[in-house]
Symmetry: C2
């Protein structure tokens, strides 16, 4: 069914009609609605953690509104850029943009940025139910506050198609996790590009639904004048529950830097969804969640109803210098409880930040729900092995894949490739593996000399099956390796395996790949000193970024780009052009 | 000669050839050179007043390099935008852009902004000797550090044409005056647009050639961590002189807000040039200079050579909350003097900040040099009377002219008019005068209700003579009126007169206009509660902004736009397009 619709869509010449046709073909005309949103992007003074800071907002707010839709709906977001001198682009994270690759919102890849004063209409179909998010995908703008959640419900009429969800709940909450700095994203970015690098430091606060509390509010000289602990922006988020009921918490992390551990004090969580795919349920006390990931968990309000409980997010994987982010689980119906009362206990502190094994176990436990598993192709047509290293290039600290640090071109690939614009990007294929892959010591400090910067894309045969193995390694400093959450645009991939140390292509595929019930995701963690293998089918015509979702890491070159079937992409909307080699009359 | 060249140029079809032809026609082929500059615009951390702040820099520096050229030269500045998410546009303040109206650098008027990654070549002829400046002309970007000076020398072979300068000197210095805030321009702009308005406050420092000293450097909690009094960026500027010699000081003010008084301790200054025009010399102890103005003064190093002296800039016209900006006049050759020594006296404090009469006297004293006066046309074809008021529109505080607060369109006028793009701007003519002009009390708080915002331009008959009378008035608060330095792009104008109180068209032209030897300028002050009358010939095909040079005031609507002879403008370079209605394939 899906394939047929896609083929029809390829022959379609009018974009919006194609989208509608696709939606109609997949879900029946009656169910598909068009949901329109008008967003005005502007700077506003906000106080998410009680400290006043200029943020990039949607209709005056950060986070922006949650987009709610039903599977098969067409979403139209009219984005008006009311920033004064700054452009914008918004990525719909987890939405595959089948048939609408120009709506992916990735500046330099799928579109030119939206200029101040311009309005750009993002039109796309949400073809799968699940929990997703959106955020700016331009420079380090995501960190400035432009983010929010997308919730796609199962179509009411779809139950007969086997799309009924494999769990039940009485109520739902959305939880958007973030980290927050008092310094501007401009300062962060300029510091990262400086020689020597000026690091902004760990975040001042962790936010839950855009709310946190800077702990040194009045005692820090730097913020004394701009801090107001009674500001309504920083009142903690409150999640109401009724005793005995079961709730779905849809959780997304849009952090710039932090890997987080999320916990609801005293309440076990059953993990049921990851990145829009149903998980074989497993129970955790707390949930590790990396930037770009989403999960749904179920909890039952089965604790003492005469008090409230903390929601807590804690930094893991990096040595924490940021206090716990908190919100309140408020019991309604406890006779002696006020839903606004502060929980009487200290917030949960989370697991040991450096317990990598603990986090790897969660990664390995996350497999597909038996009734919803989509088996991967048994073999791949091509394997790309990507060594993730920290390098110095021209004095700057960079991240590189196989010694190539990625740079974005100024003409979007999608336009450059479709139109055959020469000189828009490096045409030489980037490396499929790294030198010395057979004996590389991922635990040692490596010189990684002769690293270069490049915007060369990986071009994939349309319809082919591609494996990518992400190999983590030691950083520039000894005994250091971080977690990198890699996010693929335009696809979900099967998570074939995670391992510690150096990946061995002669051993690990046979010994460690899960080809039976791997979960599909759009974002997956590569653990310290470890490797992660994924598989996907290159069947979505377009150009798609694949990168570490840590904002600073992508900014420093930790990403690549895939092209597949760009010749099958329909006529490009002129609105995505206007920069680089598509400037003015060119 | 000039007119003939211009007429030839109008028939010219190739832009660069036209410019070269114009230069050749005016000054002889031998004298005209092409001077190329490659500028990379980026954010850098700078410490102009010892406090670290992110600035927009040119090749890493703020201010940018002084452009030096000879009359008739062609200047080519290749501006590469290396900002991450922010566009840029640069105005060549005082250069009339005859035949190159698309190179004026005024975002929304003459070009679309330059996108990150793009390079835009500004090519123009400097047709007159004199002292000019350049600065960003986009949002409030000028305040972020993107500014510098332009010095155009008299062509060596031009002496016979009467262009020899009417004064002599032994050496020359350039002095660029500025004011400086620790808060970013984004915060300033967002605050101005807020309801209620959040005012950034008076500048923290005054800079001379980009150097100042924040007086509360280590004692201010907000800046303690980012302040370094030994940072080389904030070492005071030193101006070397040899005893007995005479020096030309070329002085420009690029302040965002402040009207300044400039003094060289113990040295009388002879004013000889204003905005590129020779002044009938007059001697001052100190010089009032408004944002957008340039002056040349001569001083003789005739004081005790065994000590140094202060250069000082002080705020006037607004109650000062910013300490004196200082630099050092260093005597070389005094036997007991070190050129690096601090002057032994306190820096000059300048005149009383609210002595308007003192400053008006300087305005009236500034008339054309007898040997270089260009007499104005005796009458005008049209008079536009512009009442400058502060208004509230939709809760926002705005500035308005005749109750119309100016907004910039997102399609540049030059492109929209040349191509006849409908809907790009308001076609209805804006008002030529204001309601109740015959009896308006400029000293009273006025309601000024029903003010509107508009981007409607004033369209002028090509070749006509236009008078504009700028009428100042009381602001929203009682007993308050500020000085507004109005700057006209694309022209010099004759300064016909200044007066106190309400301008009376039946009385003042006859009684107070100077038609004999008015100075020509591109920027002129409108004094508190007073009026200023100017005259110009609408003979430069293009679209030209005319606005208060206070960055916040233009941002809040204090400006208008003139169109003249746009049908005579040659083919527009495609590089100026790409925004608004010229976006993408449109």
């Amino acid at each position: 069914m899906e394939l047929r619709a896609r083929v029809n869509m390829m022959r379609c010449s009018h974009r919006l009609l194609c989208s509608l046709f696709l939606a109609a073909a997949l879900f029946g005309v009656a169910a598909a609605a068009t949901r329109r949103h008008d967003w005005d992007i502007s700077y506003q003074f906000t106080s998410p953690d009680c400290v006043r800071k200029l943020a990039v907002t949607i209709n005056g707010h950060t986070p922006g509104p949650t987009i709610r839709a039903v599977q098969g709906d067409t979403i139209v977001v009219n984005v008006k850029n009311s920033l004064l001198t700054e452009n914008v682009a918004i990525h719909w994270h987890g939405i595959r943009q089948i048939g609408t690759p120009w709506a992916d919102g990735t500046e330099g890849v799928t579109q030119c940025p939206i200029l101040p004063g311009d309005t750009f209409a993002y039109t796309f179909v949400v073809d799968r139910p699940g929990t997703y998010m959106y955020h700016a995908h331009y420079g380090m703008q995501r960190s400035a506050g432009l983010n929010g959640m997308i919730v796609v419900e199962v179509a009411p009429g779809a139950a007969g198609d086997g799309e009924r969800e494999p769990f039940r709940y009485d109520g739902e909450h959305t939880v958007l996790l973030n980290d927050w700095w008092h310094r501007s994203t401009y300062e962060q970015a300029a510091g990262l590009a400086s020689v020597p690098m000026v690091w902004v430091g760990e975040p001042q606060s962790l936010l839950i639904n855009g709310r946190g509390r800077f702990v040194n509010c009045s005692s820090s000289p730097a913020t004394a004048a701009s801090c107001n602990v009674t500001h309504p922006d920083c009142a903690p988020a409150v999640f109401a529950v009724v005793p005995g009921k079961t709730y779905r918490f849809r959780i997304a992390s849009v952090t710039s830097l932090s890997a987080l551990n999320f916990e609801i004090e005293g309440h076990e969580m059953t993990v049921v969804e990851a990145d829009g795919h149903y998980v074989k349920p497993f129970v955790v006390k707390n949930l590790n969640i990396y930037s770009g990931e989403t999960y749904s968990v179920l909890i039952t309000a089965d604790q003492d109803p005469n008090r409230n409980y903390w929601l807590a997010s804690n930094v893991v994987s990096r040595k924490p210098a940021t206090p716990t982010g908190t919100a309140v689980l408020a019991y309604y119906g406890g006779r002696r409880n006020s839903p606004r009362a502060r929980p009487p206990t200290p917030p949960p502190a989370g697991p040991a930040w450096n317990d990598t094994a603990y986090r790897v176990r969660q990664s390995l436990a996350t497999v597909a729900h038996p009734a919803h598993a989509v088996p991967p192709p048994p073999t791949s047509d091509r394997t790309i092995l990507l060594l993730n290293t920290q390098n110095k290039i021209g004095g700057q600290i960079k991240w590189a894949l196989n010694n190539v640090s990625f740079t974005l071109p100024h003409t979007p690939y999608l336009v450059a490739m479709k139109r055959g614009l020469l000189g828009a990007f490096d045409q030489r294929p980037p490396p499929e593996t790294y030198a010395g892959a057979a004996a590389f010591d991922v635990y040692a400090v490596q010189g990684n000399p002769n690293a270069t910067t490049s915007d060369a894309p990986y071009r994939l045969r349309f319809g082919s099956v591609v494996d990518v193995v992400l190999q983590n390694a030691n950083m520039l400093a000894a005994n250091s390796s971080e977690t990198h959450p890699w996010h693929l645009h335009g696809h979900d991939f099967w998570v074939l395996g995670h391992g510690a140390g150096r990946f061995d292509p002669a051993v690990h595929p046979a010994a460690a790949y899960n080809l039976r019930d791997p979960i599909m995701k759009n974002t997956v963690a590569v653990h310290p000193f470890g490797w992660t293998a994924i598989r996907f089918r290159a069947d979505n015509p377009g150009v798609w970024a694949f990168h570490c979702h840590i904002e600073a890491h992508f900014f420093m070159g930790m990403g690549i780009v895939f092209e597949e079937g760009v010749d099958r992409v329909g006529d490009l909307p002129p609105e995505i052009m206007g920069c680089g080699k598509t400037r003015g009359g060119h």
